[in-house]
Symmetry: C2
């Protein structure tokens, strides 16, 4: 059975949990607590799987795959139904671009290790860190909102009327945004799509609150 | 003809230039100066193409594609020879994971807009910004070095004996690392692979020094 090394509140883990659930793939969740004991992700056994100590990691019978989008592309290639990418190459590029706007322009600036650097090395207090967090979320999600509302290819979901890789990334990013009180007032398309996603059992089961390691 | 909106020193643009050259695809380079006049990427016409004002943008006869890895995946699907991804799904996941370690864990923390935020909003002086820059490069490239040296699939290039998407990302990241005097002493595999990449005409022609907008 597939094993997923995951942390309940990790946005990148949440993406992969949604993808696994959408594809109906059973997996064993192996919690990696990012804060306990200085971070379980730094244990040598885990670092052997994930050199940077990031979650998630997908372990198959014969391989270890890191990086959430690489994992989802792997799942898409090996379990193509239901598809998380459209067929047409331009449409695939659009879906990947939305996913990457989130995974390359927003999330990397706001993960735990960056917030820890701001706190411990730059002596940024909580208020300053929250402004930082919201700045990148607001900027990035405003870009995603534009990508979504200016395209006729946006449907019930980010692309058409079935969930894709883009939705797998959008839902966790919006979860984070809400957690840090970022305003989504100016982002009606994002709010509409995420509300739709949240009606899906696959998304609900992937939510942080429904993980075995949730606190 | 394909149009590439590019900035000579942009690492993400550099990735796509390498990919275009490796595939032998002619393109028109349209420079977008990220520093002049407050940043040409913020001009309304450009922001219509790229909502966040990021480079590169690929413009085809009938579409606009943003995000460097989405662009390269599009080129791979529409011009599959020479391949920049292996055939096997696990191998493809490995190549994408290396590319994403660079594009999601290193580069986002060090691009111009983040350095500008550190300077203007957090009042971080140049020395502090350089420590920040090198911290994320060292951490991230150490992870890539581990990914490379611990796998028997690493060859002359990051994966086997032909350049892939991973090399398209590694070369620009190492260019940036050198520019900011990051030590690559502990990264012999990366140094060996990048030296090999730099013998390729496709890589040389993509280098910042050989762009029409280089300064």
């Amino acid at each position: 059975m597939l094993k997923l090394y995951t942390y309940f509140r990790s946005s990148a883990s949440f993406r992969v949990r949604i993808a696994l659930n959408l594809k109906g793939l059973a997996y064993e969740a192996i919690p990696v607590h990012l804060l306990r004991d200085g971070g379980e992700q730094h244990a040598p056994d885990y670092r052997h799987k994930s050199p940077l100590g990031t979650v998630p990691v997908l372990e198959t019978d014969n391989a270890i795959i890191i990086q959430s989008l690489a994992i989802i592309e792997y799942l898409e290639e090996t379990h193509p139904v239901p598809a998380l990418l459209p067929v047409d190459s331009l449409a695939r590029a659009r879906v990947r671009a939305i996913a990457q706007t989130i995974s390359c322009e927003i999330h990397p600036l706001n993960n735990l290790r960056v917030l820890a650097y701001l706190k411990h090395t730059l002596a940024a207090d909580e208020a300053v860190r929250n402004v930082w967090y919201r700045h990148w979320v607001n900027l990035g999600l405003a870009g995603v909102e534009t990508q979504l509302h200016q395209s006729s290819e946006t449907g019930v979901y980010c692309h058409g009327d079935a969930p894709t890789l883009a939705d797998c990334c959008l839902v966790p990013q919006v979860f984070n945004a809400r957690r840090f009180d970022c305003s989504l007032e100016a982002m009606p398309t994002i709010r509409r799509i995420v509300a739709q996603c949240e009606t899906l059992d696959a998304v609900q089961r992937a939510a942080p609150a429904n993980q075995p390691d949730q606190e």
